[in-house]
């Protein structure tokens, strides 16, 4: 859709379409919505935003920790909406929009309930345990709903609980100094999720629903492996395994997203990763040997420019190949 829109704008700039006819052109090709499109949008916004706001309001309420409210009332305020939303999900069915929205509310309220339990009974549980338990409890609903947004929420909880675990047990300086270990673990988790997601989804086109979630996962994996490579190059930590994994992932990304399920978004991420890694390598080689070398900084700067330009040229040639 955005490509169509941009093409029409380009033709308008080239005066192939008059400015007076441009709005009509946008309508004809379906860029501008009609009455039914608007009804669908407002219906979806009201359902999903309404559900999200109601469940988040409950979380905010319990975060306020109103001491005047009795224990029983507090539990009723979270358990009743939880039961109602689960009931709506069963009644409407997990594959309808209303059913899925109800499941979203229920999954968020489970988190509120766990937080309330921890708050009320002072169990001494660590924050990572709350998120881990939350993820475990909502897993059946996430599987039933088959909704990309819920899967991403679930993976987000897993990532958060792992990060908090390492923050708690990772040593005196927490994340920074145990950064490599956390990054490796998160990379394994998110990469596994990406592989499993690809396995269970059928051949996808760029416009297929859920493609955004695959791109988000791929981006997360890309950021993690690039970070590990930067650590390896600049600090010397785990350089060999990071290099092996980085090369393997770049090759795999090329195979999958260039040949089998073309996706320029992921390829653009790979180009950016390559720019960062090669720049870090060059910086380490040049700036280490000649301290404060202005020439080295200039050379690195020009290299970044050349690499990114070459990457853009390659991406455009791939785009032209995919849309002959």
């Amino acid at each position: 859709m955005i490509a169509t829109r941009n093409q029409l704008l380009r033709w308008a700039a080239e005066q192939r379409i008059s400015l007076e006819d441009l709005p009509a052109a946008m309508r004809v090709v379906g860029v501008q919505p009609n009455g039914n499109d608007w009804r669908r949008l407002f219906d979806a916004m009201a359902l999903w935003l309404g559900s999200l706001f109601v469940s988040v309001s409950v979380i905010f309420f319990f975060a306020y920790n109103w001491s005047d409210l009795g224990r029983l009332s507090k539990f009723a305020l979270v358990e009743l909406p939880l039961l109602v939303s689960a009931g709506v999900a069963i009644w409407k069915g997990p594959h309808t929009d209303a059913g899925r929205a109800a499941l979203l509310v229920a999954t968020l309220l489970v988190g509120a309930l766990l937080a309330l339990i921890g708050q009320t009974y002072q169990t001494g549980a660590d924050p990572w345990q709350l998120f881990a338990l939350w993820a475990a409890l909502i897993l059946p609903w996430v599987v039933i709903a088959r909704m990309p947004a819920l899967w991403i929420l679930w993976l987000g909880l897993i990532n958060l609980s792992l990060t908090l675990y390492y923050t708690t047990f990772g040593g005196l300086f927490g994340v920074l100094f145990s950064g490599n270990e956390i990054a490796w673990v998160l990379l394994v988790v998110n990469l596994s999720a990406l592989v499993v997601w690809h396995y269970f989804s059928s051949t996808a086109t760029t416009q297929r629903p859920g493609r955004w979630a695959l791109r988000l996962l791929a981006t997360a994996c890309g950021v993690l492996i690039t970070t590990l490579m930067m650590y390896g190059i600049l600090d010397g930590q785990d350089l060999l395994p990071a290099t092996v994994v980085w090369i393997a992932l770049m090759w795999a990304a090329h195979e999958v997203y260039r040949r089998r399920q073309p996706d320029l978004f992921v390829l653009a991420g790979c180009v950016l990763s390559a720019v960062f890694v090669l720049t870090a390598t060059l910086s380490r080689l040049l700036l280490d040997t000649v301290v404060e070398s202005a020439g080295a900084l200039l050379l690195v700067g020009l290299t970044i420019i050349a690499l990114s330009a070459a990457g853009a040229w390659w991406l455009r040639s791939v785009a032209a190949e995919l849309d002959p």
Partner: protein, 355 residues
Amino acid sequence: MSTESRRLWNKLEQSGLVCGTEPDFGSPVTPWYVRVMLGIAGWVGALFLLGFVAVGLSFVVESTAGSLTAGVLLTGIAVALFRALGDNDFIAQFAFAISLAGQVLILLGLAQWLNEDTAKVAFCTMLLGTALFWLVDQFLHRFWSALVVVASGALVIGSFGLASMLPAFGAACFTALWLTELRFADRCGVAPAFGYALTIGTLGTVFSHRIFGLSWWLDWQPDLIEPKLSMWLSAAALGLTVWLCGRYLLNRDLPVKTGRHDLILMVVSVSAALISTHADGLVITALLIVIAHAIGNWPLLGVGLVSLLAYLSYYYYQMDLTLLTKSAVLLMVGSALLLGRWVARRMGDRSEVQS
């Protein structure tokens, strides 16, 4: 030649909206994520070039005249390269990086020359950004120049004690621009570049009620308008923006309007104004989502959705209101949305039965 472009051309030709020979379709339009990649890499390259200037030509950075001269020189070279050889990927990226480096040097020089008077530096930067916006016909550079104009413009407005009005003002501006984007389509890239910059700038003011981390400076500026009055003025402005946006879209997309549509629009506008007194980010991000849908701009829609979710997190930590108040606001808005949907569906079912 692009298959998709040819299909599009044929469809328009059948509708009588285009005629004549098929255009030379040329290369596909560069996707937004390729531009983002180029933008990030360009900035990193600019930082290294600045490092080169700072280390190798330190006398330039330390002197006001040197910074200004070098900055103007680099920026001028960049403009010349864009105009002469801007179609070449390497030249365009190189020019972008040296333009960024030049602008930073100019900014350093201005700060030294004007004794770090933020308002004056911001005003001069706004003029520089405006000039570069018009001189360089390249989307990425134009977007960056627009961002400079928006950011510095916000600081100038803030210096007059009007910082609290920035989110509402920004929302009104981006609404007007995006909805009239097609009128500027003959100047390719002008409206989208400024539109994205306005959108990001406005979201920046929403998330910090300031812009780009300079809240420490704006906090020292006296408010021209009393805070409560400012809150209601902003609410009125947002409500009016929602109403005007709704009227425009109703006229554009609904061939047959009824009094019911006008009533619903009025209720929504008033509700938006009231909600914005406690959660302006919800209204502004929702407005952005509606506008993005109206113009078929999916990257903008993504920005709206992500910023709405991010605002919920930001809202949690906002110190202006208690969590109890925030919970009440979200519960009322959420319940109203669900109730409104239920009512709309009932009314829709009833009119189907009647017909």
